[in-house]
Homo-oligomer: 575 residues x 2
C-alpha cells in the first residue's frame, strides 16, 4: 500500500528524478523571500518565531540528555543564548539503534515520502530558519534565506532523489527462469531487499549548517539509516530546528522520532570523534577542516566516510571580451559572504604582462585595479555592503588582520560598523598581489575575505600553477576568462586532470562560487578538497546494501528468459 | 560518430542493460561445451592450441620485461612449463599511464564496444581458455569451461553494463535555463565529462582466475582506466590469454595495447604490494586471503580498493519437505571442485535432536548420514568423481590431512588416483561432526573439501551461531532448509542483519554456491568477507568522477525549465 506521504509527494519525487536525469534547471522551493511568494506576514512571523526562541531552552525530547549548553557566538553580535540538550554519545547511538528497525524495514518509496514531508515542513517554517542561519553564520539575510532555506532544501531533495533511485534500480522481486534442457526450466523467485548500513553521523559546519548537511542527512535517511546530527557549536539553531521538524514528521508518520537526533556539545567535548569511532556508527558525513576530515577518514575506517575539506579555488585570467563584466562578476564572488563560501575563489592567476580586452591591452596592475575597484564599489556603502558581505567569526576577523603581510596590499580590508548590529564583526575583502613564487601564501586555504592576485609569466604558467596547487591542496571550483579556444581547451584539460569543476567566462548573473542543485555538481570527489560529490551515484550507493533471497517457484506460463542458448550440459550445471 | 565496435555490439549492450534492470535470466555466451553448440572440432582445436603453448615462452610485447618465469604447479600434475614475462612494476605503471589519454578521452560507448569485442575474442578461443583454467586451477574440465569461460565472460559483460550505465546516467551535455525576472533568463550549457580514476590493478586468485577477475577488469576498463592484471603465480595462463586478446583488440581499435598488461611474478616478488602502494595506482580489485585483502585496504588508501576475502558460508537445516533432495543438493555443493569455491558451504547447523521430514522425524545422525551418503555416492566412482571434484593444490591437500582432528569424522577424505593424470592431487570431501562449542574449528574459513556438521539445541541457536560467526568472519552465501514460515522469516532477518545472500530450500538444479550473472549478486559488501558486491552501482561508481564545465549560451526558443517560481530577488541571486 502506498504510504499517504508518498502519494502526497509523488510528483515532487518524479520531478526530482527527471531533473537528476537531464540536469536542467529545477527548483521546488521558491528562492525569493518576497511577500508576493510567501505572503505578507511570513517574514514578520518568522522573525517573531525566531525571537521567541532566544534566551530559551530548546527542548528536544530525546533520551540521555545530560545537561544543556548555549554555545553560539553570533558574528552579528546577536545575543542568542539558546540552550540545547547535551546528550551522552552512547545514548544517542542506543536510541538510533532502537529506533532503526521499522525505518529499516519500510520500503524506499515510503521513506522518500517521509523525507520530502520533512523538507516541506522545514520549508513552511523557512523564515524562522532564515533568521537562525543569518544569526548563527553571519550570512546576510537574503543569502541566509536562500542558501539556508530553499537551496539547502533543494540539495536535500536531490539527496532523496539519488537515494531513492539507487535503491530502486534493482527490482524488489525478480522472476528467473533458465532453460535446463528437454523443455525443462529452472524457475526461481528472487527478492532484493535494501539493507541500510546503520547509524549515520552528520558533522555540520559553522558557515552553511543546512546547505552542507542536508545532502548527507537526507541521503542517509532515505536509504534507511538513523541520523545523528552534530552541529558546529556556533551554528546549532538551524539544525535544532531541522531535527525538531524531522522528529515531528517521523512521529506523525508512525516512526520512532529517535531516527533523527541532535548532538549538541561544548566546544571541547569532541563528541564527533567519540561518535565517529563507535563501531555502531556506519556512515559519516563531514564538512569542515582538512585536519579533522582526514582524521575521520583515517580513524572511522569501519564507516563510509564522506568529507568536504579545505581547498584552493582558482581563477585563470587569460583575456576577455568584457572586462567590466569580468570585474563585476569576480568582485561579487570575492565579496559575497566575505569569501566564506567553500567555493569562493582564493587565487586569481594572470600574466604579469597583462591581458587583451576589448578596451585594448591592459597591464596586470590595470586588471587588478579593475577588479579591486569593483570590490570597492560593492562595499563602498556600509549599509549596502553588509547585505552582501555579512559578518565573520572572531577567528576569521583575526585571520584578515594577520594576512595583510602575505603580499602587496592591493585593497585593504575595512572594518565596517553594521547599521543594525553594533557588535557585528564586518570586514571587507583584503586583496593581495603576489608572484608565482609565493606559493606558501596563496597555495593553502586562507578561509575568509582574503584573495590573491598571482602574476605569472603567462597563461601556460598560470595553468601549471593551478595544476600543482589543486593536485596538492584540492579545490571545489575553478574559473577561466579567455577569448582563445586553445586556452579554453587547455583549461578544460587541466580541470579534468585535477578533477575540479570549471566555469568559463562568467560575466552575468551566475558566479563561480555558486552551484544549482539537480544541475551542478558540488565538489568532484577527485581531488583533496573532498572525497565525494554532491550528489551523484557514488555519494548514495555505499549507504546501503542489497541482500538477495531466492527460492524455487513453479515455472510461469510465459517465459521471461532472454537467451541464445537452449542446450545444457548434463553433468555439471553451473548457474 | 559511433565506433564500429559499438555498432557491432549495441544489441549485446542493450540486452545486458535490460538484464541488470530486471535481473531475470540472461546469458550470452553458451555454457554448454557441446559440439552442437561450438562445432565438431572446437574442443580438439582448443586442446591443440593449449598443448602448443606448453613448455613455451608466452610472449607479450609490453615494455620493461626483465626476464621470464614459469611458476605454475598444476593440481592435476599437468606439466605446463609456460614462461611469462616478468616485468618491472614501475615500467607497467609507466606504460599504463602513457597509454591512458586516448582511452580516457574516448566516450563510454566506444569503450563499451571495445570491451565487448574483447569478451567476444576471448569467447572465440574459449576451449583454449577452458584447458588453461582446468590445468592451472584443478577444476574439472566442464566446470573449467563454464566457470572459466562463459560464466566469467557473462560477469565481465555485467561489469561493462554497470560501468556503461553509471557513466551515462548523467548526460554528456545539458541545457540549463533559470528565470531571472522580467522575462529574462540565465541560460547555460553544461558539459559533464567522465574522468577515469587512473591506473587499475587486478589481483587474481588461484582458483577462479577469470571469473573472479573479469568483473573488476572490465568495470575498470569500460570506465576508462588502464588495467594491470596480476595473476596468482599458480594460475597465470588464463590471464595471459586474456591480456593477449585484450591487447590485440585494443590495438586493432586504434588504442595503445599497454592499456592492459600482465604482471607475472615469482611467488616471492610481492609485486601486488609494490603496485598497490604506488600512488599512481588508483583502483585495486582483489580476490584472495583475508590477511592480504585487509593489508590492501589498510595500505592502498589512495586507491579505491574492492576486496573479496575469506568467510564462513553456512546452511541451517530446520526441517524439510524433501530429504533426499536436500541430501543430493548439499552433497553436490560440498563435492563440486572439492569445496574450493568461495561460496561453498563450510558449516551446516542442525538440531541435535533431529528434524522433521516427510519420512518422519530423523535424528541428527540420520540427517548427517544421509548427506554423507550422498557425498559418498557422488564420489564413489573414481572416474566420475574426478569430473566433479577436480584436483587440489598441495596446500589444500595438506589442510585436508590436518583437519581430520578438528571433529568427529563422519566421512573420511579419500585420495583418488586420477584416471588421466597419474600425478593429480585428488581428495574427496572430509565431513566432520562438532558441537556448537567448537567455534574454533568451524568458525573460521577452512578452505578446501572440509565441512562441519554443527549440532545445536535447535534452530534458534543455529541462527544465533550463524549471526555470530558471519558477523565476525563474513560469508558469501547462506542456505536454509525449513517447512516453517516463521523459521524462514527469522532466517531472512538474520541474512539481512549479517548482509549475506540467502538460498531457501534448494532441492534441484540450483545450488547455494552458484550465482548467475545479471541476476544474482555475488557477495554483498556488507560483512567481512567482501567490501563490494559483484556487480552493483557501488562497485562501479567510484572508478571515475564526473567533471562539469559550464558557460553561458543564448537562451533557446523553447524553455526546458521546470519551476514553480517566476520571481527572483533583486539583490542576491544565489544560484
Amino acid at each position: 500500500m502506498t504510504h499517504p506521504l508518498l502519494a502526497k509527494h509523488r510528483d515532487t519525487l518524479d520531478n526530482a528524478l527527471a531533473a537528476i536525469a537531464d540536469r536542467g534547471y529545477f527548483s521546488i522551493y521558491p528562492e525569493s523571500p518576497s511577500p508576493r511568494v510567501y505572503g505578507e506576514t511570513a517574514a514578520d512571523d518568522g522573525k517573531a518565531a525566531f525571537t521567541a526562541l532566544l534566551g530559551q531552552r530548546f527542548d528536544i525530547d530525546q533520551p540521555g540528555v545530560r545537561d544543556h549548553v548555549a554555545t553560539e557566538d553570533s558574528p552579528f553580535g546577536i545575543d542568542l543564548g539558546v540552550e540545547y540538550p547535551r546528550t551522552e554519545p552512547g545514548a544517542l547511538i542506543d536510541a538510533a539503534t532502537a529506533a532503526w528497525p521499522s525505518w529499516r524495514d519500510a520500503d524506499p518509496a515510503t521513506r522518500a515520502g517521509v523525507c520530502i514531508e520533512i523538507l516541506e515542513r522545514i520549508h513552511k517554517d523557512v523564515f524562522t530558519m532564515a533568521n537562525a542561519v543569518h544569526a548563527t553564520t553571519g550570512q546576510p539575510f537574503v543569502m541566509a534565506f536562500q542558501a539556508g532555506g530553499p537551496h539547502a532544501l533543494d540539495r536535500g531533495l536531490e539527496g532523496v532523489a539519488y537515494g531513492y533511485f539507487e535503491q530502486t534500480r534493482t527490482p524488489a522481486t525478480s522472476y528467473w527462469e533458465k532453460p535446463a534442457g528437454k523443455g525443462q526450466v529452472l524457475a526461481m523467485e528472487k527478492t532484493f531487499t535494501v539493507v541500510p548500513r546503520g547509524v549515520a553521523l552528520v558533522v555540520a559546519c559553522a558557515t552553511f549548517p543546512t546547505w552542507n548537511s542536508y545532502p548527507g542527512l537526507f541521503a542517509s535517511l532515505v536509504t534507511g539509516n538513523p541520523v545523528i546530527v552534530k552541529p558546529h557549536p556556533n551554528a546549532v539553531l538551524p539544525l535544532a530546528l531541522t531535527v525538531r521538524h524531522a522528529r515531528e514528521v517521523l512521529a506523525e508518520a508512525g516512526f520512532d522520532p529517535n531516527l533523527v537526533t541532535l548532538a549538541a556539545e561544548r566546544p571541547d567535548d569532541r563528541i564527533a570523534a567519540s561518535l565517529a569511532t563507535d563501531p555502531r556508527v556506519r556512515i559519516v558525513d563531514f564538512t569542515g577542516s582538512t585536519s579533522f576530515g582526514t582524521w575521520l577518514e583515517d580513524n572511522a575506517r569501519h564507516a563510509a566516510v564522506y568529507t568536504e575539506k579545505a581547498g584552493v579555488n582558482t581563477v585563470v585570467i587569460d583575456s576577455t571580451e568584457d572586462f567590466k563584466g569580468l570585474c563585476r562578476n569576480l568582485a561579487f564572488t570575492l565579496c559575497l559572504y566575505s569569501g566564506q563560501m567553500c567555493t569562493t575563489t582564493q587565487a586569481i592567476f594572470l600574466p604579469s604582462d597583462g591581458i587583451d580586452t576589448p578596451e585594448g591591452h591592459l597591464s596586470a596592475d590595470e586588471v587588478i585595479a579593475g577588479i579591486a575597484g569593483a570590490v570597492e564599489k560593492l562595499t563602498g556603502d556600509d549599509a549596502k555592503a553588509v547585505e552582501l558581505i555579512g559578518a565573520v567569526s572572531a577567528g576569521v576577523a583575526d585571520r584578515v588582520g594577520d594576512a595583510a603581510g602575505l603580499g602587496e596590499v592591493v585593497l585593504a580590508s575595512r572594518a565596517i560598523t553594521h547599521p543594525s548590529y553594533p557588535d557585528a564583526r564586518v570586514r571587507t575583502p583584503l586583496l593581495l598581489k603576489v608572484t608565482a613564487e609565493a606559493r606558501k601564501s596563496y597555495g593553502t586555504e586562507c578561509f575568509g575575505p582574503i584573495a590573491f592576485f598571482v602574476t605569472t609569466s603567462g597563461t601556460a604558467e598560470s595553468l601549471n600553477l593551478v595544476r600543482e596547487v589543486v593536485t596538492e591542496q584540492g579545490a571545489l571550483t575553478m574559473g577561466v576568462y579567455s577569448t582563445d579556444d586553445a586556452v579554453l581547451d587547455a583549461t578544460e584539460q587541466v580541470s579534468r586532470d585535477v578533477a575540479v569543476h570549471l566555469s568559463r567566462n562568467l560575466y552575468g548573473g551566475v558566479f563561480v562560487n555558486q552551484t544549482a542543485a539537480f544541475s551542478d555538481f558540488h565538489a568532484s570527489g577527485g581531488n583533496p578538497a573532498a572525497n565525494a560529490s554532491l550528489v551523484d551515484g557514488a555519494y548514495v550507493s555505499g549507504r546501503f546494501r542489497v541482500i538477495e533471497s531466492r527460492r524455487h517457484v513453479p515455472p510461469r506460463a510465459n517465459s521471461l528468459s532472454r537467451t541464445r542458448e537452449r542446450t545444457i550440459s548434463p553433468l555439471v550445471v553451473l548457474v
